[in-house]
């Protein structure tokens, strides 16, 4: 199955929180467009709104203001069920700490993504993806039996196994050393290449950003700069 990547369109999006300390402007009037199949890095200091922006694009939260469209569908106008359906059908998430379900083995964590649809042949497909990522031998291990890098690669496998049109990765290499980090990014880029997915990666690591097409820099919830990088050849 080959699907084109999803175009992302963010228009004047804000996300504000009321806290005891006052109003927090996690994302403050950001506008940007990511073309289908494009790999974009989002950089910036901690607390600048990278994860919030990814969450808004992924429909995990709704913006306080502005409009977000993914693949032509206005996420910010969708209800919870439709946003869930969107995540299920078109999105793949890789979280900061992998967030594998601890009571599932590596292959089961990956198969879970497929089981959200119908689960037919999920196990076999999941195993194939893990094998491709070099984790075939560790497929029956539980999350706490895998190294940090392996866990993130399993998380990548879980995100890409359904060949999503958009992959959102929130600091996928944040807790990894350079080598492991490179392997995880390789996995993401390979998956993107295979599925033609759009890839958005929030990262602190300039080395990771350099391997993507473009780098957006956020500061205090605002877009501070856009930089094209040499990046990987776009499939």
């Amino acid at each position: 199955m080959s699907r084109s990547g999803a175009k992302i369109s963010v228009e004047a999006v804000s996300r504000h929180y009321e806290t005891e300390a006052g109003l927090v402007r996690a994302v403050d009037g950001i506008s940007l467009v990511v073309q289908p199949g494009e790999a974009v890095a989002i950089m910036g200091p901690s607390g600048c709104g990278k994860s919030t922006l990814l969450g808004l694009i992924g429909g995990l939260e709704l913006p306080t203001d502005g409009r977000i469209a993914v693949g032509g569908r206005e996420v910010s106008a969708l209800g919870d069920a439709e946003r869930t359906a969107l995540r299920r059908a078109e999105l793949g998430f890789v979280f900061h700490a992998g967030d594998l379900l601890p009571f599932l083995t590596a292959v089961e964590n990956v198969a879970l993504g497929l089981a959200l649809d119908d689960g037919e042949g999920a196990y076999r497909t999941a195993l194939a993806v893990l094998t491709r990522l070099g984790l075939g031998a560790d497929s029956e291990k539980l999350g706490d039996q895998l190294s940090g890098g392996q866990r993130q690669r399993v998380a990548v496998a879980r995100a890409v196994v359904r060949r999503p049109r958009l992959i959102l990765a929130d600091e996928p290499t944040g807790s990894l050393d350079g080598a492991s980090s490179a392997v995880v990014i390789d996995s993401l880029l390979d998956a993107r290449r295979e599925a033609g997915s759009t890839l958005l990666v929030a990262t602190h690591d300039p080395a990771v950003a350099r391997r993507l097409d473009r780098t957006l820099t956020l500061c205090d919830g605002k877009l501070a700069g856009v930089e094209l990088s040499a990046g990987e050849p776009n499939a």
Binding site: G55, E61, T84, F93, L101, F103, E108, L112, L116
Partner: protein
């Protein structure tokens, strides 16, 4: 630190509530039980005294004498020195109108005086010493001197000399020691005693004692059959003549006047002879007294058939027996004293005449019950004080039977047994509080690991963290215990009513409150502190520990579940073998309380803990083998996730199961206990009544009841009626070797089987049906109770003779064949020895008289019985010809105050807390799920799991925990109830059998189901509100 701890409590209301709710409910249950014990004492006192016919009886010991007096004077120097002598003079005077026979004077000089040998004289004539001792105190028994008969108005003078061994300050201060007795006054009377009081004087002085509600004289005497003639017809049976006045009748309303009333020169006639002779007011009653005759006009007719004060046995071996004498006459105390007593005195005075039944004269005392304390022990102290004051009036002239103190002594002991039983039933409350606190604590400890790590990063050392933990534990345990004690008080006030609760002494209530608060704080504090303290010390990631616990908990490593169950089993077997459950029935009159082996309630508690742990072991093992956790198919997202979670996280699942099971088992055990108690009580009352209703023809009825009345009693609400013939001591069983007076019941076997609660266990070597068939097929068949058969040496198949209708005109000797033996027979509270076919009985005695009817209600429920009673009262009973007793009225006549324990109230209290705790256990489990798994849940949502799927996942896990907990709880609770019910054996006539309370179990299951659903939905709603992005970013 204190401020941080406070903020932590306030800012995490869910967490705070989860920790406190278990503590509050558990302590609430425990303290509630303590308050309940205080409050229910009042009920026990009331119920203990309710069936008491007479509070106190001051019985005159010399109803035929009373005229004998003895004076003692010591003459000599006013202050004699050692070696001085004195003369002791004794004078016996007979002030009675009858001679005193065999008058015995006993005396020894008061110390330091000693008898001077050979100085005794009677009437001025010297009397020789006996064996070197004074004739007034001779032999080992120091027996006195028989001075023979003292004529009415005559005196006998005795004197002797005595010497003092040391100086005496005042000779007049020496206390005389002489006594006098006679054949008429067998109780020795002290010298210089005040003049004996008459019955009326005694009653008047007793009535003035504070706390005495009334004191009335009662005299009676039994006369042989044929002693009464009414009009022209002679009454065949034995006769009892009473002497009391209107005030006595008004004091004891069970003495009912149906016509006429008291008259100075007249007599009340009991209904039976009046009915038989067709006598009414104005008819003359002729009484044959020993050596005299008394004729009195009948001034009224009295129904004495329910008059307990008149007919309760005065025989110490049969105090609880109601020995009714149908042919009775009541005369005024004046006539009794003027005509009846002298006749007996004369008869008694005649040498060689032996009186079988001398007159009895007593003052019946009614204690003012409104002043008695609610606590039986305190009330006992009050009645004993009253008894002491009663005894101080004219001491030595009579004796006191203190029924009320006996009853209260029993009630006090029963209350003590009840307290112990209640305590055992309440003890689990504090254990549950500890468990729920520990359970909540362990869940929170896991969730707090991260916070502790952050605090450490910010510089908090272990010591500070421990102090923080201590503050938190004190706050949770203190506030929870305080709230729990309040809950317990309110719960009891609602169940018992604030009046009953506040009738307990302030001291008791405060003690209970402090015990609840202190015990609760201590136990729950430890339960909260320990898991949290261990968690502080643990560095292993919670997730790893949860998934692959490398060490089982201590109870499991040591097989504590098996050990506890084995202990409970062994304790039960030992108790059975040693007869610990065969508790004796109590007797209020004998001051003997019911003995309940309440310490054996420990066995069910041990089984409760052991059974729950075993159930948890089993659940964990089953969960670890749950489907959906293996193979190459993931399955549906919910089922696949749930199954795998269950399999790989079986221990948290088992902990959740334990939470629900331990509470449910306790609730189930108590509900079964209460249901069994109810069934046993109902079965006992059916056994006592003989069916749902007992219809006793009134002695005032125009005609004696016959079986022909039975169809008329078949009114709406009544399913079947059967007649029964039974009277106390109405038969003589003549066996091959011996004979004895017995109670015989004549029944219609088919009808009796249809209405009476016959059980196979009542008969030996035959079923109930077989026994009734034999009685039906062979008219001469006779069923004999096992003890009678043993005593008289008669066996099955033996031919015997029975004197039927003993002491009546219809008395007849009939042949029978023993066809079976029985241990118990329903319908005869006083017991029955022989059961015969009514048709044969009627043919043999040529009578069709029925003593009572037994009726089975169409609907045996209280409402059905009430309906049948109402129908009877509106129909056949309208004229007052029938007295209707039912199982419901019998329930209210239980003598043991222990059976009056408000077990239902206690179970209601326990059930309310149990339900709340079961729900709390589920809530804590769900709160734990949210705290520990929220990251997993938001991950699943981020991956695309629908809200409905997540709800199903949460609901599935909670439902599995609740369902497994409920199933395990019901199983363990049943075992617990089975063991608890054994303890009740001593309370009931019939062995209680375990009842399964479908209603409460359905209610509990329904509530748990609703709680599960509600908790799962609430959890889903909470999860929906979580900040997904923020949570996913947490390390």
């Amino acid at each position: 630190m204190l401020r941080y701890a406070w903020r932590e409590l306030v800012r995490n209301p869910r967490r705070t509530l989860s920790s406190m709710i278990g503590v509050a409910l558990g302590v609430g249950l425990f303290s509630g039980v303590l308050f309940f014990i205080d409050g229910s004492s009042a009920t026990m006192t009331d119920r203990a005294l309710a069936p008491l016919a007479l509070d106190m009886q001051r019985v005159l010991t010399s109803s035929l004498g009373g005229g004998l007096r003895l004076t003692e004077r010591i003459a000599g120097a006013g202050s004699p020195h050692a070696g001085d002598t004195a003369t002791v003079r004794l004078t016996v005077t007979n002030g009675s109108v009858q001679p005193a026979h065999d008058v015995v004077v006993n005396d020894e000089p008061p110390l330091p005086l000693s008898y001077i040998p050979g100085t005794t004289a009677v009437g001025g004539h010297a009397i020789p010493d006996r064996g070197g001792q004074s004739p007034l105190a001779q032999g080992l028994a120091r027996a006195g001197l028989n001075v023979g008969t003292v004529a009415p108005g005559a005196s006998v003078r005795l004197a002797y000399r005595a010497r003092t061994s040391r100086p005496v300050k005042s000779i007049s201060a020496l206390r005389p020691r002489a006594t006098v007795s006679s054949r008429e006054d067998v109780v020795p009377l002290a010298a210089n005693a005040p003049a004996p009081l008459t019955q009326a004087q005694l009653a008047a002085r007793i009535a003035r004692i504070p706390g005495v509600g009334g004191a009335n004289g009662l005299s009676f005497v039994d006369l042989p059959p044929g002693s009464l003639r009414v009009g022209g017809s002679r009454v065949q049976g034995p006769v009892r003549v009473f002497g009391f006045d209107r005030s006595y009748q008004q004091r004891y309303p069970s003495i009912q006047l149906s016509a006429g009333g008291f008259a100075r020169r007249g007599a009340l006639l009991s209904a039976e002879p009046a009915q038989a002779a067709g006598a009414g007011r104005g008819t003359t009653a002729h009484i044959r007294l020993p050596g005299a005759r008394l004729s009195l006009p009948v001034s009224g007719i009295a129904d004495l058939s329910l008059a307990k004060p008149l007919f309760y046995s005065r025989n110490s071996t049969k105090l609880e027996a109601f020995l009714y004498v149908p042919d009775s006459l009541v005369v005024s105390p004046r006539i009794f004293a003027r005509d009846v007593i002298p006749a007996f005195q004369a008869a008694h005075a005649a040498q060689g005449t032996l009186l079988k039944s001398p007159p009895v004269s007593e003052v019946d005392i009614r204690v003012d019950r409104s002043i008695l304390s609610a606590d039986p022990a305190a009330a006992l102290a009050q009645t004993k004080a009253i008894a002491h004051r009663v005894n101080r009036i004219a001491p030595g002239q009579d004796y006191l039977i203190d029924n009320i103190s006996n009853a209260l002594a029993v009630a006090a002991k029963d209350a003590s047994v009840g307290r112990r039983m209640f305590l055992f039933l309440g003890l689990p409350g504090i254990l549950l509080a500890a468990f729920l606190a520990a359970y909540a604590g362990s869940i929170l400890a896991g969730a707090q690991r991260r916070e502790h790590a952050l605090l450490r990063v910010r510089g908090a050392d272990r010591k500070r963290l421990r102090r923080l933990l201590l503050y938190r534990v004190i706050a949770f345990a203190g506030a929870g215990s305080f709230a729990g004690t309040g809950l317990g008080f309110l719960g009891v006030a609602m169940i018992l009513g604030s009046g009953d609760l506040l009738s307990a002494t302030t001291n008791d209530l405060v003690t209970s409150g402090l015990l609840g608060l202190g015990g609760g704080m201590l136990v729950t504090g430890v339960a909260l502190y320990v898991p949290a303290r261990l968690s502080l010390a643990r560095e292993v990631g919670g997730e790893r520990a949860e998934l692959r616990p490398n060490r089982y908990p201590a109870w499991r490593r040591f097989g504590l579940d098996f050990v506890l169950l084995a202990l409970a089993g062994v304790a039960e077997v030992v108790a059975f073998r040693s007869g610990a459950f065969d508790a004796t029935q109590g007797s209020v009159y004998a001051g003997q309380s019911v003995s309940l082996p309440s310490h054996l309630l420990l066995a069910p508690l041990v089984a409760w803990v052991g059974g729950t742990l075993l159930a948890v072991r089993v659940c964990e093992a089953l969960a670890a083998r749950s489907p959906g956790g293996g193979g190459s198919q993931f399955g549906s997202v919910v089922f696949g996730t749930l199954g795998r979670g269950l399999r790989r996280r079986s221990r948290p699942f088992a902990a959740g199961v334990m939470g629900v099971a331990v509470v449910t088992a306790f609730g189930m055990g108590l509900a079964s206990f209460a249901a069994t108690y109810d069934h046993a009580k109902a079965a006992d009352s059916r056994f006592t009544v003989g069916s749902d209703l007992r219809l006793t023809p009134s002695p005032l009825a125009a005609h004696p009841a016959s079986p022909r009345l039975a169809p008329k009693l078949d009114v709406p609400g009544v399913a079947a009626v059967t007649p029964v013939v039974a009277q106390p001591e109405n038969a003589v069983l003549i066996g091959p070797h011996n004979q004895d007076l017995k109670e015989l019941a004549a029944i219609d076997p088919r009808g009796f089987q249809n209405v009476a609660p016959l059980s196979d266990s009542f008969f030996t070597a035959a079923t109930a049906s077989q026994a009734m068939s034999k009685l039906l097929s062979d008219p001469r068949a006779l069923l004999v109770d096992s003890q009678t058969a043993g005593d008289l040496g008669v066996g099955k198949g033996e031919k015997v003779s029975v004197l039927l209708a003993r002491g009546t005109k219809q008395q007849a000797l009939a042949k029978f064949r023993v066809v079976g033996l029985f241990n118990r027979f329903p319908g005869f509270p006083e017991g029955v020895n022989l059961v015969a076919n009514a048709a044969y009985y009627n043919a043999s005695t040529a009578t069709r008289r029925v003593d009572f009817f037994l009726a089975r209600a169409t609907d045996g429920s209280p409402a059905g019985i009430a309906h049948a009673t109402a129908s009877l009262e509106a129909g056949p009973e309208k004229s007052g010809a029938l007295a209707v007793d039912s199982t419901q009225t019998t329930l209210n006549k239980d003598q043991s105050s222990l059976t009056a324990l408000n077990v239902h109230g206690l179970v209601d209290l326990d059930s309310a807390f149990t339900f709340a705790m079961a729900l709390a256990a589920i809530a804590i489990f769900v709160a734990g799920l949210i705290l520990q798994r929220r990251r997993e849940y938001v991950t699943l949502r981020a991956l695309g799991m629908r809200a409905a799927e997540l709800r199903r996942l949460v609901l599935g896990e909670v439902a599995l925990v609740a369902g497994a907990g409920l199933a395990a709880g019901v199983a363990v609770g049943t075992v617990m109830a089975f063991l608890m019910v054994h303890v009740l054996r001593g309370l009931f006539i019939l062995d209680p059998s375990l009842a399964f309370p479908a209603g409460p179990i359905a209610l509990l299951s329904g509530l748990v189901a609703v709680a599960t659903l509600t908790a799962a939905l609430a959890a889903s709603a909470v999860l929906e509100r979580l900040r997904t992005v923020e949570l996913l970013r947490e390390q």
